[in-house]
Symmetry: C2
Subunit: 351 residues, 2 copies
């Protein structure tokens, strides 16, 4: 488009068409694509020789490459990039598809995180890829409740509930049984000091300060506070979840060792790669540094709540992924989720 104006137009319409056709074919077959194959396509009306000339140009420009002299062409990373940005025709979703995707979403999910995860599961089945979810709700949610429930000799269950509806519990074994007074004090102390505290701000330091300020109760209750701290940590660690890894394992073009290594430190890897400053849709290739799995790409799309990023849903698949199908799916799902978690608020407000 804009290329035709300012810059000398290196890519005329036909070359763009050919590049798109090559990538389309490569995505389907996984084999290098030759000039004959392209020439046989219905809407290409030039001879193989012409296509060869164009492909040579496309190679010089860095969009295609040859595995070896006598093979067809395969896309380079920049080829894919151009394809995704400008060339592919992302199919508009039909009404049936939209309905099908809607049905995948668990409308009864109690929390936004659970809703997103239902989308993740569905998406991994639909695309035969792995999917990744980044729940950044820890950044949003504050502690709404901390409860202690006695459950046996010197055993207590700690329960933490956050504003986003997430719940975690933990069993603490104490040295002594708590008196009613102690339990009441603890509940009150928690309500006064932790209610409203953002989950990811609950550091060990804060806990230590709280412990220090507890006076006579310090000794008995310190272990409980430690438990509270661990609970909060649990929320934070839970940020990134990958599902459908098995879909990747089944593929021959992806090294299973690398998948294992990726899963082992997915948190770090994914965290490094998800750049909040980017647009709402981001496509990362394995060359882009840090991404352990060779020959793969990751497409992520952001979910917003009140304008702020409330989560990320993504697909991890092979480089030769059916972008024209997956990207609309992903965008539709994140769009719907964004709508739904806003609706919810209205729902609550209009009451």
């Amino acid at each position: 488009m804009y290329l035709q104006k300012g810059v000398i137009c290196l890519l005329d319409e036909r070359k763009r068409k050919i590049l798109a056709a090559v990538i389309d074919a490569y995505i389907v077959t996984g084999e290098p694509v030759g000039s004959k194959t392209i020439a046989s396509l219905p809407d290409i009306r030039v001879s193989p020789a012409t296509i060869r000339n164009d492909m040579a140009v496309l190679e010089q420009l860095g969009y295609l490459e040859q595995p070896h002299t006598s093979a067809g062409r395969i896309p380079t990373y920049s080829g894919y990039r151009l394809y995704i940005d400008e060339l592919m025709n992302a199919k508009e979703l039909s009404d049936e598809e939209k309905k099908m995707l809607d049905d995948c979403l668990d409308v009864d999910a109690p929390t936004a995180d659970a809703l997103i995860e239902s989308a993740s599961k569905a998406l991994s089945e639909l695309t035969h890829c792995a999917t990744v979810v980044k729940n950044i709700s820890p950044k949003f949610s504050v502690i709404t409740k901390v409860e202690v429930i006695p459950t046996g000799k010197r055993m207590y269950v700690l329960l933490m509930i956050t504003s986003s509806g997430n719940i975690r519990n933990k069993v603490c074994r104490l040295e002594f049984d708590l008196t009613n007074e102690q339990m009441e004090f603890f509940s009150r102390y928690m309500a006064e000091n932790l209610q409203g505290v953002p989950v990811d701000e609950l550091s060990e330091e804060i806990v230590e300060q709280l412990v220090a300020a507890m006076g006579t109760y310090m000794v008995t209750l310190a272990p409980l506070l430690k438990g509270v701290c661990e609970l909060a940590e649990g929320f934070r660690d839970n940020e990134i979840k990958v599902s459908g890894e098995k879909n990747l394992l089944a593929r021959r073009d992806i090294n299973s060792g690398q998948i294992v290594r990726f899963l082992e430190n997915k948190n770090e890897v994914v965290k490094n790669m998800l750049d909040d400053s980017f647009g709402d849709l981001q496509v990362v290739f394995s060359e882009d540094g840090g991404f352990v799995i060779e020959n793969s790409s990751m497409i992520v799309s952001k979910i917003r709540k009140d304008g702020e990023i409330a989560g990320t849903l993504g697909v991890i698949g092979p480089m030769r992924l059916d972008y024209a199908k997956v990207i609309p799916y992903l965008e539709y799902l994140t769009g719907r989720i964004t709508e739904m978690i806003s609706e919810e608020d209205q729902d609550d407000e209009d009451k």
Copy 2:
């Protein structure tokens, strides 16, 4: 041993030694073992020719086989069986090893299930295999507490605690907010009707009966009871856990597709295979029916509490597993756990 008495002794000491040596070598290398290799072993003082003769006999007896005429021998299933039952010299654990294994156990684990799982994790790292845990605590544990905690508009957290110390929670979204009276009724009703009920007996039928008997509260509280039912289901579904699958994925002699298929219905598969009537240690080979992963074996050892089976810990690995190392590890760990969960009881009693 006993073979030498009643039955004509088909396997003299030397043949047993040779069989053991072949299997030892095969476990290490994974390659067919030839007569030369065995002859070069320090405590074998006969020539390759003699060994060849013996190996031919061992093959006729079904303990060894040849992949093809000009290859060495590999063990058959019966070969492995004999090896495990009689031939291998299971190394006694040294004090350091015992200490190391002790350190792997999470002594602070709040529940027996958590303790067993800590062993499972450690074991999978030590053996570079997958491990499997069957928590049959659902059969043992009864419901000790069901709590409802309001946590926002029409949102309630259900909390279920069992006698074995396991806890699960679930968020329920109701159509209406509950009155204090309703909440109190529910708590009382739960305490009266569910306390002491074994987790795996809480069927939908029982819940329906309870709902029917609730009278005026029926409509409002039915969803909560449904939630309770799902919580109990959660305990049951949680029976079998596999960890360290990645260790198997890394192996070239095990088909990763089969691993995926196994993981998909591990519950069924493992349940079918663990035969409670067996002795405390059980070694299952992939030929033994039902076990989807070819060329693998599973060693399981039972954990007891007051004589009854309270859990199962097992290792899933390749056929050519270092049984002489893994079996003592497994037996020691399950032994220690059995001790520990009994100790705990004394601990509680002497109070």
